[in-house]
Symmetry: C2
Subunit: 203 residues, 2 copies
């Protein structure tokens, strides 16, 4: 995700890039419109012109992130289903996140914890979960069709895989225990081998 | 967890019960010492005498919850390992939580999202994760010893199961999608059957 904000070519994108930097630096609770303004190279008044308050801006930021994620997932080549699953795992929960990515995940989780009080955030996170689960489901279905995977309930398996990835990411972020990551990724591989792969599971 | 606060027999426990009710009613962000005081039947000055601020009180509340969880897990009979796993899943992520439990989980997740900024919270959540993973590990080890489970890496499998449960709970709470719960619990059963149970996996 870090690469997303390296080049910007419009005021809207510059606002999004400034929001990203402010969230990495200050976390969700510490981010204010004025702190986003400090990261923004144009006039701060543009921010106040576009947005009523911080929550308004951040809901827009989440929508922007999702558009990028959607495009990014669509760009991920539909190679061999097993490889694609691993590529999706890596994209959703990178095994070696840098400091900026860690801080960004942390800010995202703080925002997600706000969803019960903030319908605009919830809408975006609902969309992101649906998008991710659909992508995983499609990959599993392709694998079943090609005979690589056994005939599982693709939706249910996708929801399970995503819950595991999400839970691991959340535990790593909230406890700062990044070594958990490798451990769970290895266990996910074992799960895919044991319950999904046709040649192993049907032996 | 709801049953924990039905009877109280000391000022300390009454403070904890009042904190629980305030968190259910107002969420983490909306909970203040004064709102806990509104739920407390004795003099509010007792709260200010015991605690410097809300975070101080809530860190103590987390420690108290963990003591209860620890006692509760130790009381869970060590029956047949497979049954015990299911009993632990149910205890950690009840399949049919009532409204108070849902609100309470929500408040807990909000507190957990604060851990990067609050070392006292992090200490408690580290302890809770370690406690839960140890309990799952012990159950898996007992199953391996008895020949019910195949020889897996018990620590890694326990961490994986907990991440899945935790991720599911988090997704349900933040999106209000409680039907996800049943789905993932069924998939967890499938995982236990396919990768853990000796008679299935070794056929």
């Amino acid at each position: 995700m870090t690469g997303w904000f390296e080049t910007t070519d419009s005021t809207d994108e510059e606002i999004m890039a400034a929001t990203y930097r402010a969230l990495c630096a200050h976390g969700y609770a510490g981010t204010t419109i004025s702190r986003i303004g400090e990261e923004f190279e144009k006039s701060q008044s543009l921010l106040y012109y576009h947005y009523d308050d911080k929550d308004d801006l951040l809901a827009d930021f989440l929508a922007y992130l999702l558009d990028r994620l959607e495009a990014d997932l669509q760009d991920t080549e539909m190679t061999e289903p097993r490889q694609r699953l691993t590529a999706l795992f890596e994209k959703l929960a990178p095994s070696d996140p840098d400091e900026a990515q860690r801080q960004f995940f942390q800010a995202l989780l703080e925002m997600r914890a706000q969803t019960p009080h903030n319908p605009a955030y919830r809408d975006q996170f609902e969309r992101s979960d649906a998008l991710i689960v659909a992508e995983l489901t499609e990959t599993i279905e392709a694998g079943i069709e090609q005979g690589t995977f056994v005939e599982v309930d693709a939706d249910r398996t996708a929801a399970f895989l995503y819950s595991t990835l999400y839970g691991t990411l959340d535990r790593c972020v909230t406890l700062g225990e990044w070594e958990l990551f490798d451990q769970t990724r290895r266990e996910l591989d074992r799960y895919v081998e044991t319950t999904l792969l046709a040649d192993v599971a049907e032996d």
